[in-house]
């Protein structure tokens, strides 16, 4: 019966949801409070054995409980708890208490006493653990209550000496979460025979358990200490010795936690001095801990190794000579530097006693060695990274590579040293590791100059079949410095080989050469005659302009020539012609050059070359001025206002083309102004004065304008990143105006009241939601359309549609132009499809009905969350269109705000007779509900209720095309039978 009753209650409940938001809470409470506790009570009383009771409790736990009825429920549970003899049921009740005290809006301090008293009477260890857990939850819910906190700490201290490990662990957690340094503790149950320390603080108590017999408790003790640290308490330095001892614990989780502990201490007291055992030297604590953690990189457990390797990366204060030891296998094999000045030093080493395994019989017995000089387990950091990078588990290797990166970024000399090791990692068996090490090398490449032999090994990777690796390597080459002209030649040669083997890398290789050239103009200079194959007195044949390899060479040379004015003298005639051609066709790769006897090709060049920061500032000023000028236009019907807007829009668009830095801002403002202009035009039509039937045509243009404004507002909102809520409000405002315009137009054209009433209501809802969303922005919207509307709101909601339309019409016309304030950084999302190029005349043939894969390669700029928003659209000649969602794995992120989509699009069609073009383009999907989701974010309770509120306004979803479409020839052939 009870269950049935409950079910009915919930049915009622689910109906209630449909009623508008404000009324819901009151009604919900009234209905559910008595039923909840009562139902539970009835259930528990009915339970004849423990299994039944457990079942009821489990069922109960699935439903949420409201804040007001929690206390009642808790009382019932506690009452039952005292009566219950079965451990498992008591355990479940204890866990429920914990869950219930997490309920929002319920203050659990009233049940603290009850829980503590049950704790004192409890015999079962498991239930004790659960009760302490409940207390932990309560304690974390009440951070502001020192009295409760103090009591809980006392309880924890009291149970610390329990024989069951679980209880001790929970007590330590409690201490870690709630303990304070300032409140000293007395440990009252100190053993009789032992010397009582009297007043002790939390850290002292916790550190006692570093030596517990159970490894789990030891781990919990360290974790509790770390928790104290996280809560902002300063850990005493005394702990350091204990933590170091735990590094050699038998259990991996203890060692892992101890590594963290040692790290924390090394960050807290980097400069304090610790003695080295077995000698009377002293070193800085951070160095000591660095050495100890380095030791852990060769630990037996890989989890600890990962932890240690990661930790090493964040110890930036360590002294340089310690740091450099990590790459050193001491004096046995510093054999990495072949073919360098270190050759002699290397021979000295090999003549010692250690063979490298690189030469035959170099470990033949030699003269007696000075064994004291060789230290096999060097104290300290010796060779930690050498081990980490050679580890069996790739997790460790990646962690080591990352740590190398962090350390190298802060220390140029270390960066120099770790170069060889990173280069070695290019040969790892796991692609992820290879990729990571290439990225790392790129990040530290500002510090280093590659030697020829190193470059050689780096370039060997260019033949890798993985595209990611190759592109990462190109990226790396863009940033590297090389030392000699042979290096440049070598790099060029390898890149051309790469180009030959993988023609798809064309763009990336060219880009790479562009940077290589502009970075090393002086190194390129002596190579020019050879590269361009010019000859002092013979004319050489003119190379083929379509050869990608030749273009690559030219890109290198032209970019070097930019900062090397003597270079153009070496060019032959056709080189100049080719320059002109390339400057036009590949302007992003070929810089403007001041060539002797040639005028700059067009004005743009001078803008660019005279560029730099000054021009950006000037452009920014110009942008600001244009906007200010527009803002003076108050009355939309003023003569010349339209012209002014027209000109400004044009100016802004041009500015966007000239200054890529400001393109986002300029485009954004231009689009916004265009919306305003359209609105203005629509309102200015004479049609408003004419009789309805006479102006159908004009009506059509106005309707179109309204629709266009709506579309533009969606673009404004979703295509640009870096918008603040101020701008969003402005956009929504324009959208509201457009909707108003639509409404007015519908009112004029349509007969009949029914549809009008509906759309009026909808409009009013829109206004309301606007008010709700942008409450904070309203003060900025002075004298605007919305403000006027909101003033009239009470009247609007009661009046008739016809009247409403009239009011809207006047307000629309009276409202002024809302001034646009630009945020710091606005970027427009753009996408460029690199592949397919759309140039091919060979159709892609496939059997109709089957699928063909089309490789798609595109770069996306300033797109947030591309995995969810970017889609590929296919438009077939017959008007069919397909939207394809690429897999999340197809997006790569080569740089900040930049994404790369490399995917395959599957297309298929029925047979055609002629090859036809299919259009491919990228779409940006949006849904307006995502921007206004603030209302639905408040999730109720501790178990997810299935019946959530529907979103207040229907989500508007749509897509914006944001790339140029590319045409691909395809030819589905009929299947052969």
């Amino acid at each position: 019966m009870a269950a049935h009753l409950k079910k009915r209650v919930y049915e009622e409940f689910s109906k209630v949801v449909q009623i508008p938001h404000e009324e819901v809470p009151a009604k919900k409470l009234r209905l559910s409070k008595p039923s909840k506790s009562a139902a539970l009570h009835v259930d528990l009383c009915k339970a004849t054995n423990s299994t039944d009771a457990l079942q009821y409790l489990l069922q109960f736990a699935r439903k949420p409980v409201e804040a007001e009825s929690v206390e009642g429920v808790v009382r019932i549970l506690l009452e039952h708890y005292y009566k219950e003899t079965d451990n498992s049921v008591r355990l479940k009740i204890a866990s429920l208490l914990g869950l219930l005290s997490k309920t929002q809006g319920f203050s659990p301090d009233c049940i603290v006493d009850d829980v503590i008293s049950t704790l004192n009477n409890e015999k079962s260890h498991q239930v004790l653990v659960q009760l302490l857990d409940t207390l932990l939850v309560i304690g974390t819910q009440l951070p502001e209550n020192p009295a409760v906190r103090q009591r809980l700490i006392e309880v924890a201290c009291k149970h610390l000496s329990d024989t069951y490990f679980g209880v001790r662990i929970k007590c330590l957690q409690l201490l870690g979460c709630l303990g304070t340094v300032d409140a000293p503790l007395t440990k009252d149950n100190e053993g009789q025979g032992m010397s009582t320390g009297g007043v002790r603080d939390v850290q002292n108590v916790i550190s006692d358990y570093f030596g517990d017999q159970d490894p789990r408790v030891r781990t919990a003790a360290i974790k509790a200490m770390l928790q104290l640290h996280e809560r902002g308490m300063k850990i005493h330095q005394i702990i350091y010795d204990q933590a170091c001892r735990l590094l050699s614990d038998d259990y991996e989780q203890v060692r892992s936690a101890a590594v963290q502990m040692v790290w924390v201490l090394s960050q807290l007291y980097p400069e304090s001095i610790v003695p080295i055992p077995s000698s009377n030297e002293e070193i800085r604590l951070v160095d000591d801990s660095f050495g100890k953690i380095s030791h852990m990189v060769s630990d037996g457990s890989w989890m600890v190794r990962v932890q240690a390797a990661k930790t090493l990366g964040s110890m930036l204060q360590v002294s340089p000579h310690f740091l450099e030891q990590t790459l050193d296998k001491k004096l046995m094999s510093d054999l990495r530097r072949k073919r360098t000045a270190h050759e002699r030093a290397k021979e000295l080493y090999t003549s010692g006693e250690f063979s490298s395994g690189r030469k035959w019989a170099d470990d033949a017995p030699k003269e007696k060695v000075d064994t004291n000089a060789v230290n096999l387990i060097a104290s300290g950091a010796c060779g930690a990274f050498v081990h980490g990078l050679e580890d069996e588990m790739y997790e460790v290797r990646i962690a080591a590579v990352e740590a190398l990166c962090l350390l190298a970024r802060s220390s140029p000399s270390f960066a120099e040293k770790c170069l060889d090791f990173l280069v070695d990692m290019f040969n790892d068996e796991i692609e992820e590791v290879r990729l990571q090490s290439i990225h790392v090398l790129r990040e530290i490449s500002t510090h280093i100059t590659l030697r020829e032999d190193q470059l050689d090994t780096v370039l060997a990777v260019l033949e890798d079949s993985s595209r990611d690796i190759r592109e990462a390597l190109h990226e790396l080459l863009c940033y590297t410095n090389v030392s000699t002209k042979e290096c440049i030649q070598l790099a060029l040669l390898e890149l051309l080989k790469n180009l030959n083997k993988y023609p798809t890398d064309r763009n990336s290789v060219w880009k790479c050469l562009k940077f290589l050239g502009s970075r090393h103009p002086t190194l390129v200079l002596p190579l020019v005659p050879e590269l361009l194959s010019t000859h002092p007195y013979f004319d050489t044949p003119e190379p083929d302009m379509d050869d990608p390899a030749y273009i690559a060479v030219l890109v290198l040379v032209f970019n070097a020539a930019k900062s090397c004015p003597t270079m153009p003298a070496l060019f032959s005639d056709h080189t100049f012609r080719h320059y002109a051609y390339l400057r036009d066709s590949l302007s992003h790769l070929v810089p403007p050059l001041r060539l002797p006897g040639r005028k700059p090709l067009y004005g743009l060049d001078s803008v660019d070359s005279g560029g730099g920061s000054g021009s950006v500032e000037a452009a920014h000023l110009f942008l600001q001025q244009s906007l200010n000028r527009v803002s003076t236009v108050q009355n939309l019907e003023a003569p010349g206002a339209q012209d002014l807007l027209d000109f400004t829009i044009r100016d802004l668009q041009r500015l966007g083309q000239l200054q890529p830095e400001l393109a986002g801002a300029a485009d954004f403002s231009a689009t916004y102004l265009r919306c305003q202009l359209l609105l203005m035009k629509a309102l200015q039509e004479k049609l408003w004065n004419m009789a309805v039937p006479l102006c159908l045509k004009q009506n059509a243009t106005a309707t179109a304008a309204a629709r266009q404004i709506l579309e533009e507002t969606y673009k404004l909102e979703f295509l640009y990143s870096g918008l603040e809520s101020r701008q969003v409000a402005t956009i929504h405002h324009v959208r509201l105006q457009a909707k108003a315009l639509q409404l007015v137009l519908t009112a004029r054209t349509r007969r009949g009241l029914e549809p009008l009433i509906g759309s009026c209501e909808k409009f009013l809802q829109d206004v309301e939601s606007f008010q709700r969303l942008f409450l904070t922005e309203l003060p900025h919207l002075q004298d605007s359309f919305v403000e006027k509307l909101l003033e009239l709101m009470p009247r609007l909601s009661s009046c008739k549609p016809a009247e409403l339309v009239k009011i809207l019409q006047t307000t629309l016309r009276q409202s002024g132009l809302l001034q646009l304030r630009l945020p710091e950084q606005i970027h427009r999302a753009t996408a460029t499809i690199i592949e397919p190029t759309g140039e091919s005349d060979n159709p892609l043939r496939f059997t109709s009905g089957l699928v063909v894969a089309l490789d798609l390669d595109a770069t996306l700029e300033h797109v947030q969350d591309p995995q969810n928003t970017v889609k590929v659209q296919l438009l077939y000649p017959d008007g069919q269109s397909h939207v394809i969602q690429p897999r999340p794995g197809d997006f790569r992120k080569p740089g900040p705000h930049r994404h790369r989509l490399i995917t395959q699009v599957y297309l298929s069609h029925t047979a055609w007779t002629e090859p036809c073009q299919v259009e491919v383009r990228l779409l940006l999907a949006y849904s307006s509900s995502s921007s206004s989701s603030s209302s639905s974010s408040s999730k109720a309770g501790w178990s997810d209720s299935t019946d959530s509120l529907p979103p207040p306004e229907a989500a508007i979803e749509g897509t914006i095309p944001f790339s140029k479409s590319v045409k691909v020839f395809i030819m589905p052939k009929p299947a052969r039978r």
Partner: protein
Amino acid sequence: MPEIKVTPLGAGQDVGRSCILVSIGGKNIMLDCGMHMGYNDDRRFPDFSYITQNGRLTEFLDCVIISHFHLDHCGALPYMSEMVGYDGPIYMTHPTKAICPILLEDFRKITVDKKGETNFFTSQMIKDCMKKVIPLNLHQTVQVDDELEIKAYYAGHVLGAAMVHIKVGSESVVYTGDYNMTPDRHLGAAWIDKCRPDILISESTYATTIRDSKRCRERDFLKKVHETIERGGKVLIPVFALGRAQELCILLETFWERMNLKAPIYFSTGLTEKANHYYKLFITWTNQKIRKTFVQRNMFEFKHIKAFDRSYADNPGPMVVFATPGMLHAGQSLQIFKKWAGNEKNMVIMPGYCVQGTIGHKILNGQRKLEMEGRATLDVKLQVEYMSFSAHADAKGIMQLIRMAEPRNMLLVHGEAAKMEFLKGKIEQEFNINCYMPANGETETVTTNPSVPVDISLNLLKREMALGGPLPDTKKPRTMHGTLIMKENSLRLVSPEQALKELGLNEHQLRFTCRVQLQDPHSDSDTLHRIYTHLKSVLKGYTIQHLPDSTVMVESIVIKLSSSAEDPNTKVLLLSWSYQVIDLSYSQLLLNIRKKLTCSR
């Protein structure tokens, strides 16, 4: 004191013929049973007559453990078990058990069929021998008998190589076999837990070597191969059929895959195909990468590596050939070498050790003119490279293993004496433990200090726990009262009462008494009362009772007074206490009473 004895029959200060006898806790174990590659006479096998002059070995050995399938670790096994005679258990891991007979059979064929030796073990003997083998799994504790247990750990030297932990009671020995601490392309690194054995018997092949990073060597190798291929040259890599060959195959295979190379790679057929088959099966024994990717593709199913045919050697164009045997002393590798030696574009890469006298050894030492049989000479124009790919732990690796296992003593085998000496010094200096390096036939004796486990009754433990302080000090030793009962090979600690009960004895009370003569004029009862009040005033904190039968009790000390008949002034004070009373020393009490009474007189 109990002792562990270790006697190498082979591999003592030597490489090859590994065979080590260990006596531990009354058990005799033979670790490995290998042959020596350098000899063709009796010295080839270990001297089993050391164990017994005549008769079978079964009664002298409790078990034999084979660490891996290399012939210098298992080559003498059929000889020992079938020809000398041993019927006890032989332990080895699953891959070793699978691959070992193939190698033994191959070895037998070469010695018997090619060299024509007689009095050698037969195929049937190999089969019979393998029937005695009990396979081991990693980390599985196998009970050989009631007391002896063994456990295998991953050693990473070749597929299926294992280290063994041998334990009798609380004494234990770890034998490493051959092991490798740096992972390679197909195997992981050796690993052992902190088992703290009494002796760690470790190989020390590379006792004085610290090798360059693996990656660096691999890169050099690949670069050399790649360059030769690009030049259009041919690369010959002489290898032994198992172990390194597979590693190099994987290395080249992945490189070919990565770099999209087209030149063919060949592998001489025969033994290798069978072995590769086992490599495919024992994926769990390989490294992380192969284990994780074998679902998509088993790394040992080579795409680019094909079987070699004699006629391919004359094909034009670049190619890479793996050929056996590894030291260029005979067989296919030598044939191919002869064909290619004249062209300077070609290259031979020796990936491992070469014995003196082989062609491999000669060309590595720079000899450019070789004398062939039949007085012909061969000009060596091709490039000769050496790359060490052998998978033994280097000095640092050995140290790392010692740190992992934390042994109490160290014993080095399987290495050259001079090199061992150096490492021995290092180990003693760094870890402060004894290190031994016995020669063949020498016995090293290590005394151990085993802890003796004692059963304790739960009640006693709980009672003593309740008396002691709180828990955090549990790691500190704590004294407790109890009775140790040694009965029928078992030790038990019980409470005294229970011990009495079990032994059927009554409890005896031991009391000490003492007489003190006093001169006191008062009557007996008065004197006693004075003593009582005095004690009460002096000894605060003790319970002092004046009992009606004219005695005074201080805690459990009884004080009685009697006066002698002839002299009533001379009082005799009787004190009696049991032996447990410690804190209230009786002398102090006496002193007190006497002082009081004398001054009150």
